[in-house]
Symmetry: C2
Subunit: 336 residues, 2 copies
């Protein structure tokens, strides 16, 4: 659908009026969980995830039949500062690789039984170098948010968003530093593989970006220090909330984009789980700020929605157990 | 196939002559991994797993098409000591639940695309109470090992083994204490959910079992303190090695059974990954003794092969990326 906002204030209002989980479904799912043929709590976090998912889907016995993975791609003016181990043209080359099925996310989405959508956002028009001023105008931000909003299929029952954008770990570090404070060094990492000098450059660029963009507030930070693909992820996550579609977050960049929503409206990420904790240095700290415990910790640091997609089958497994297992009464098993 | 051993010594000889991974395949897989369209190392542990799997399968570009999950069930004389929160008849009730598709493992195997096999081992004939002497005779152990050996389908390309057996966390704790030393309290846990008094009982029973069975060596320990389903898991893991089929280990009980193979022959578990670390208290320590880093940590403590089955899709994802992604040259992507 066409996004129901054309200004940032209208998007803010949507966030402020976001839906809550269904308490009847939560209660029903918790009751069902207690009757399944296993010792109480023996499925660990799978049980919590299943009840959580049931609440968002509004039914005590849900299924996951149509997960969607969306990768948004954007280019960043800040690459002129030498913040990445790869040249900026790799963003577009990787989009083509996604379209031809050659990337990790193609394989991960397929293994998860998820539909993969790829949206390239004006790759020939990088955002402005945020060391010189805002990365985007308000109109540019709204357009990117709307791209994300419109990318979510209405029949989806689980959403994973991810990104491709050379330079975007620097943007994500700047977002985190602006939202949570601390030193630039606390939030930068090696991204695709920069050396120590590259890491120092990233910290300098983040500091300069913060100095050049003193404004605060989640969406203003997203506009000034983010990028089109980060804004599109935020728009998609907000759209999923409006449709009561649970979300699995990917890595550092995805979580930094998501964090701007939470900063704009506390609770805006209640419908989102952390798919994994990546090897990007500050991701664990960022998850801590968001209060999210990751489902996986396998040292990934790829982006592209890869960690989120990898976690889909974990949540599918949780839902399959919850909705498909027999109860003690049905199976004639003695309840301890 | 019929097991090629009818004595414990013959089984020992098979272990001593177990196959190694294919170095050419390992080298080829490592070379391929370095050419895929991602920054070096960006898929983290998925890359290591894919290369490892390739080595065991003898091809640089393997696939996982036919995973098998096997659950072995057995009963334990030691339940007479009051070591479980559930009555012993639950073992058979749960086997029927497996056969009717009502248990967690049915859902987890299905979600993983794995064939599920269930083998109940003489449930009407529990092992002897090991506080009074050996749980099994040598003939009983060999029969159980052979059941496991024969349960592995030859066309399987990934094996997960698990168990059902009321009382078997106590047997597993006794195995670990016998193999690695320490106090009984270091190895017992709450199993299906015993209280503090139950936990103290389990520690006492383990101590009495060790005192009543002073023999050592991996397979002798398995005979004296194990159980039929534990021996069957060991037999299946050994059979998988003989067929170069990689294995994903399940939780504490599975790993304790597997540890007897490693104690009998160092390296006997080189073809096995740890699927998860469970909430059973001593599982993390046991994995440490085995030198295995778990793929998942989600607080499961169910057994039934559940954690191993949950990990199948992680390994499938690793292999899908490794064998299905494009190289930089194929995709025309600039290599950093």
């Amino acid at each position: 659908m066409s996004a129901p906002f054309s200004t940032l204030d209208a998007f803010r209002s949507l966030l402020a009026n976001c839906v809550a989980p269904d308490q009847v479904a939560l209660d029903g799912a918790a009751a069902r969980n207690g009757q399944l043929t296993k010792p109480p709590g023996a499925l660990g976090r799978l049980e919590d995830m299943a009840i959580w998912y049931a609440g968002w889907r509004g039914t005590a016995r849900p299924e996951i039949a149509a997960p969607q993975v969306i990768v948004f791609a954007g280019n960043h003016g800040v690459t002129a500062q030498g913040v990445s181990a790869f040249p900026a043209e790799v963003t577009e080359q990787m989009v083509i690789n996604f379209q031809h099925g050659g990337a990790a996310i193609n394989q991960l989405a397929r293994t998860a039984g998820a539909k993969l959508s790829v949206h390239a956002l004006e790759l020939d028009r990088p955002t402005a170098d945020f060391t010189q001023g805002p990365a985007m105008s308000e109109a540019e931000l709204v357009t990117a948010l709307a791209t994300g909003w419109e990318a979510v299929a209405e029949n989806t029952d689980l959403l994973v968003v991810g990104e491709m954008g050379i330079g975007n770990t620097t943007a994500a570090a700047a977002l985190a530093a602006a939202l949570y404070g601390g030193e630039a060094e606390d939030w930068v990492g090696r991204g695709t593989g920069v050396d120590d000098a590259g890491l120092a450059t990233k910290a300098r660029v983040v500091r300069e970006g913060l100095a050049a963009n003193p404004g605060r507030g989640g969406l203003e930070v997203l506009r000034c220090l983010g990028g089109r693909e980060l804004a599109a992820m935020a728009g998609a996550i907000a759209r999923a909330r409006s449709l009561s579609i649970p979300v699995i977050l990917d890595g550092f960049i995805c979580c930094a984009a998501a964090a701007t929503l939470e900063a704009a409206e506390a609770g805006a990420l209640d419908h989102a789980l952390a798919g994994h904790v990546s090897a990007e240095a500050a991701h664990a700290a960022l998850l801590g700020k968001l209060g999210k415990e990751p489902m996986l910790s396998l040292g990934l640091r790829l982006g592209e929605a890869s960690g989120g997609a990898l976690a889909i089958n974990i949540l599918k497994s949780a839902i399959a157990c919850h909705s498909g297992m027999a109860t003690f009464a049905e199976a004639g098993v003695s309840d301890g």
